[in-house]
């Protein structure tokens, strides 16, 4: 009986003591949002559309992100510039459905769509979580700095003639008899 009382009292006192000395320890709590945590570059957060090193839109509206998306929260429409480039006429992500799986980024053949370490996406209204191309497109290359799809692709665009892409020889002259 006495042992029980002693044990109970002692453990309570010990607890108080332990709490007390924590007052002098370094704090674990981060003063968010005044203090921003370090986010790893490959963190899968808010989705952006990037531009290629020449400053042109990277997205070619191939629809692969949309089809890879397990929650079907990406919708877009292909358009074609006068210079021959494909681009999305509209590009919409419904972030209220997005599960940040990153499949869209994996599927993207042009490195256009990228997930960023930004996680501050809460809104008071769900409607505000629908982002259009104007909201998504950034003025930079994102994580991948050098890739420019049209320098590799065979499709001719203004400023890059046939045969000028990576690993291409000049166009064949069909009328020529040379081997």
């Amino acid at each position: 009986m006495i042992k029980l009382i002693a044990d109970t009292l002692l453990t309570q006192v010990r607890t108080l003591w332990l709490v007390f000395i924590k007052l002098f320890k370094k704090k674990d709590t981060v003063e968010y949002p005044d203090k921003q945590p370090y986010m790893f570059p490959r963190w899968r957060g808010r989705i952006i559309l990037s531009r290629d090193p020449d400053g042109e839109e990277r997205c070619v509206a191939c629809n692969l992100c949309a089809v890879a998306c397990p929650v079907d929260c990406i919708a877009l429409q292909k358009g074609e510039m006068e210079d021959g480039r494909w681009y999305p006429e509209f590009f919409r992500i419904n972030f209220s459905r997005c599960i940040m799986c990153g499949f869209c980024e994996e599927a993207c053949p042009t490195n256009a769509i990228q997930l960023t370490p930004d996680f501050e996406m809460a809104e008071y209204k769900r409607q505000d979580m629908v982002w259009e191309k104007e909201d998504l497109l950034i003025n930079g290359t994102g994580k991948y700095h050098d890739y420019n799809f049209y320098r590799v692709a065979g499709k001719q665009i203004k400023g890059k003639d046939k045969g000028e892409a990576l690993n291409e020889s000049a166009p064949i002259d069909v009328r020529s008899l040379m081997p």
Binding site: A61, V67, C69, W86, F149, V152, K162, E168, P171, V174
Partner: protein, 893 residues
């Protein structure tokens, strides 16, 4: 039947086929490029390598091409053999050496045979580190995009375009890795079947330009099995919709009707569905009350050959059978009614396209099939090859050995006899062409009929070749007589019937008589109409005041009767209700204008030229308040299409079985619907999110076996109907083999339609009235058509409009000279304000004037059988630059 062993499993196969075809028929996966079920084998791509063993003792075996090896009894092959697999992987690696890094910006991506085959063969890394060969592209017209870099030189395009479809302006150029497929110079691809290059090309060299303008991947398109509304052939198509607009039309396989190909009018003439000019639902009026006015019992209804069976029937129910009038011009009505009665004649048979291809002697009377029923012209072109197949058989060359058969036959063809007022696109395969004014053609056809049988009506005149032609037709295995209503001359059909009857009499069997119909449901509407209820009588009744209330169903009457008469009648009518899709001259005068759904927006039944009833399913929903015409007309707001077609079926013995064409939901697996959307339909939670983030419920289709969603039993699994074919590892349209009983056989789903015409009546020879109306003054008129422009609705499509021409009048050089006219001048017809451009043609007889009416700019029905031309001020809209005829007269030639 022969037995072959493939990878240790024994299969029963048809020894007339090759191993590739049989392997695909058995559902095995074997990669290929150059082989096509319609074009046979040439062994060009080396992709279908398999290992063949001499017998079960042979362990070494040797590599052969499956497409070049006959499936003879006892053949033993292995698809899975390591060496064969390795060879296929190496072959595709070399085919891919210069293939560009284009898939994301290629319209073929996602339904690309090359993508599928690359994956299937296992090639995934380009080891070759030298430079890629590149090519310049060509402008090929408003339909087709050219991206030559993507070519893998399988030669399918030229084999289809030149060998199969008879085109002359696409060819393989240069050699080795310089090989180029294109025109001799940039320009519009001339063939009426150029759109099929998109489907024939296994990669993205030829892609659909109109589709690219509002592109969507295959998996994102909402599709349903549909019927082309472009002409009376009733080709099966698959339209695809995305974000509320119709995006493209592709061929849908039907073994008996269109097989693997459709024409360019069908493929590119759908865009009017998306038109901003579509008629919208009237606001601020009570439609039910307005409709009540027409229910007083004496309203007359004018039907439509481009409206469905259901809509025409609903109108007939609404106004009563005696008040339901034909929506065809009087001359067309007579012609179609005659076609209908000939369709019930036990001496004849209406051949399907497959049967037309089997004909080995053809006579075409007056009809320019290429411009009125283009898909039939493609079939007729195949029929002349039957002689080659026969020769090959004698030489023991299998029919699928395409190059060998062509080499053997050279220019030997089955006979095709053309009686035509002007040059047609079938002239190059014709064995005998008579170009003459229409009256002379009728006479010539009469002489041929008399030459076949002495019982045929006697015709004056004599023709040397008549007995020869008669012999050809009598000695053929399967002769075919072709005529049609589009030519606007009933005598063509009458003489065609006489020739067919004479043949039937002499041969003592039923004879193929193919009578084309101009519009999608011409024959169906004729079946619903009393013979006497012609449009002329209806207009007369209105003008005389006997009919006050008039309902016009999906029809522009100005295309059907003299403009002055129609204007007078419509003005006289007290109230005029018009139900239509797009504004016309008729809708301008309507007191009540109601919007009708387009072909892709409703479920409907159409009857094609051979009397085959086929169901076209709804692809997408209409967002502008349009309803199917039958729904506007039905008293019961809960009326369903199945109850309506049930009543249609009961209304007459002729429509027996029409209601059973629709598969019932109870017949599907676990009573599940078939999804219109693919299993990877994307963007469902984002496409409408800009309007409202809360997704609406998927629309429910309570009427058909299809659902407006991804859920349900997919076509790959015992679905009763097939929209867009897809099968695991077969994303392209080549996946169709997975749905066929055997390659080029029937679909496992069935659904080929139902023949409505019972052939139980006996007929007799038709007396051809001598044409007394023709005066000697002026030139004899022959109606001409254009594949791009003559179809009323397709002519409203953007892509088609880029290929259209102004109304023209085709003249011989002599007539033009005597009238002082030059190429491209404008002339006035009979001096009453109808202006047409002059087209001087080499292959037209003096005295004939071939008139193309354009988009009804010419008041054709007000003209007589001959026309007087006077020079007029030049007025051009589109001009005649786009005109493609083979015999255009050019100065200096």
């Amino acid at each position: 039947m022969a037995k072959v062993v493939i990878d240790g499993v024994e299969y029963e196969v048809n020894p007339d086929n090759n191993l590739l075809q049989e392997a695909l028929s058995k559902g095995l996966d074997l990669p290929y490029f150059c082989w096509h079920p319609c074009m046979g084998s040439v062994g060009a791509c080396r992709q279908c390598a398999v290992k063949q063993y001499r017998d079960s003792e042979d362990t070494k075996g040797s590599i052969v091409m499956a497409c070049m090896t006959p499936a003879t009894d006892g053949t033993m092959i292995s698809i899975d053999d390591e060496q064969a697999k390795d060879m296929r992987e190496r072959v595709i690696e070399s085919l891919m050496i210069s293939h560009p890094h284009d898939c994301p910006v290629c319209e073929e991506g996602g339904e690309c045979h090359l993508q599928d085959m690359t994956l299937m063969s296992g090639h995934n890394y380009r080891r070759y580190d030298k430079k890629k060969v590149t090519h310049r592209n060509q402008y090929l017209g408003p339909f087709i995009n050219h991206e030559m870099n993507r070519c893998i030189t399988c030669y399918r395009c030229v084999r289809f375009y030149d060998d199969y479809a008879g085109g002359t302006d696409l060819a393989a150029q240069a050699s080795h890795h310089h090989t180029y497929f294109g025109r001799y110079e940039e320009g519009v691809l001339e063939s009426e079947f150029s759109g099929n290059l998109v489907e024939v090309c296994p990669t993205g060299v030829f892609t659909d330009k109109a589709f690219s303008e509002h592109y969507s991947r295959k998996w994102d398109l909402q599709t349903a099995p549909s019927i082309c509304a472009g002409c009376g052939t009733g080709c099966n198509i698959t339209p695809g919709e995305r974000y509320g607009t119709l995006r493209r039309v592709v061929n849908r396989y039907n073994a008996e009707v269109n097989g693997y190909f459709i024409c360019d009018r069908g493929r590119f003439g759908f865009d009017y569905v998306n038109s901003a000019e579509r008629i919208r639902s009237p606001e601020d009026i009570d439609i039910t009350q307005e409709l009540e006015k027409f229910r007083d019992g004496d309203a007359i209804g004018i039907g439509s050959p481009r409206a469905s069976m259901e809509s025409n029937f609903a109108l007939r129910e609404f106004v009563g059978e005696s008040n339901f009038y034909s929506g065809l011009s009087d001359i067309d009505n007579e012609a179609i009614q005659l076609s209908l009665s000939l369709g019930q004649d036990s001496s004849f048979r209406s051949p399907s396209i497959k049967e037309i291809e089997a004909a080995d002697a053809v006579i075409i009377i007056g009809e320019d099939v290429t411009n009125t029923s283009p898909r039939l012209a493609l079939a007729l072109r195949q029929s002349v090859r039957n002689h080659a197949t026969e020769l090959a058989k004698q030489a023991q060359i299998p029919a699928w050995q395409d190059a060998a058969v062509r080499e053997l036959a050279q220019h030997e063809r089955s006979p095709l006899i053309l009686l035509t007022p002007y040059a047609t696109r079938l002239d190059d395969v014709a064995s005998d062409i008579l170009v003459a004014p229409p009256s002379e053609l009728v006479e010539a056809a009469g002489v041929i009929a008399s030459a076949i049988s002495e019982n045929a009506p006697k015709t004056d005149g004599k023709r040397d070749s008549a007995t020869q032609i008669a012999d050809v037709l009598l000695n053929a295995k399967r002769p075919l007589v072709v005529a049609g209503a589009s030519a606007g001359k009933i005598e063509y059909i009458q003489t065609a019937a006489n020739i067919a009857r004479a043949l039937s009499e002499k041969r003592n069997e039923t004879v193929d008589l193919c009578l084309t119909t101009p519009e999608v449901n011409s024959l169906g509407m004729a079946m619903l109409t009393n013979k006497e209820n012609s449009l002329g009588i209806a207009l007369n009744q209105i003008i005389q005041g006997d009919a006050r209330n008039v309902i016009v169903l999906e029809n522009d009457l100005y295309r059907r009767a003299p403009h002055s008469e129609v204007a007078k009648a419509l003005e006289k009518a007290e109230s005029l209700m018009v139900i239509d899709q797009l504004p016309t001259k008729t809708t301008e005068q309507a007191s009540l204008l109601l919007p009708a759904t387009a072909f892709s927006e409703h479920e409907a039944t159409y009857v094609n030229y051979e009397g085959r009833a086929q169901v076209s399913f709804q692809v997408h929903q209409n967002k502008i308040g349009a309803l199917p015409a039958w729904r506007w007309l039905s008293e019961n707001p809960k009326e369903s299409i199945s109850s309506l077609s049930e009543r249609l079926q009961q209304s007459s013995e002729a429509f027996k079985g029409i209601a059973e064409l629709r598969p019932e939901i109870s017949g599907t697996v676990s009573g599940m619907q078939v999804p219109r959307q693919s299993h990877r339909y994307s963007g469902r939670t984002a496409m409408r999110a800009n309007v409202n983030v809360h997704e609406p419920k998927q629309p429910v289709d309570s009427e058909s076996v299809l659902s407006f969603s991804m859920e349900g039993i997919p076509a790959a699994k015992d679905a009763t109907i097939l929209g867009a074919p897809w099968s695991p590892s077969w994303n392209s349209n080549q996946s169709i083999t997975k749905f066929q009983e055997e390659v080029s056989g029937d679909l496992k789903q069935g659904n080929t339609g139902k023949a409505l015409l019972n052939r139980d009546k006996s007929g007799s020879y038709l007396e051809i009235k001598a044409d007394t109306s023709s005066s000697n003054e002026g030139l004899e008129l022959a109606l001409a058509h254009q594949i791009f422009g003559s179809g009323e609705l397709s002519a409203k499509s953007a892509a088609i409009q880029k290929r259209m021409v102004d109304p023209y009048i085709g003249l011989s050089k002599e007539d033009a000279d005597s009238l002082g006219l030059k190429q491209g001048d404008s002339v006035s017809l009979d001096g009453n304000g109808n202006i047409a451009a002059v087209v001087i043609r080499n292959k037209i007889k003096a005295g004939t004037a071939a008139l193309y009416c354009g988009e009804n700019e010419i008041d054709y029905h007000a003209l007589g059988s001959s026309v007087v031309l006077t020079k007029a001020e030049n007025t051009f809209n589109r001009g005649i630059e786009n005109l493609i005829v083979s015999d255009l007269y050019e100065e200096g030639y």
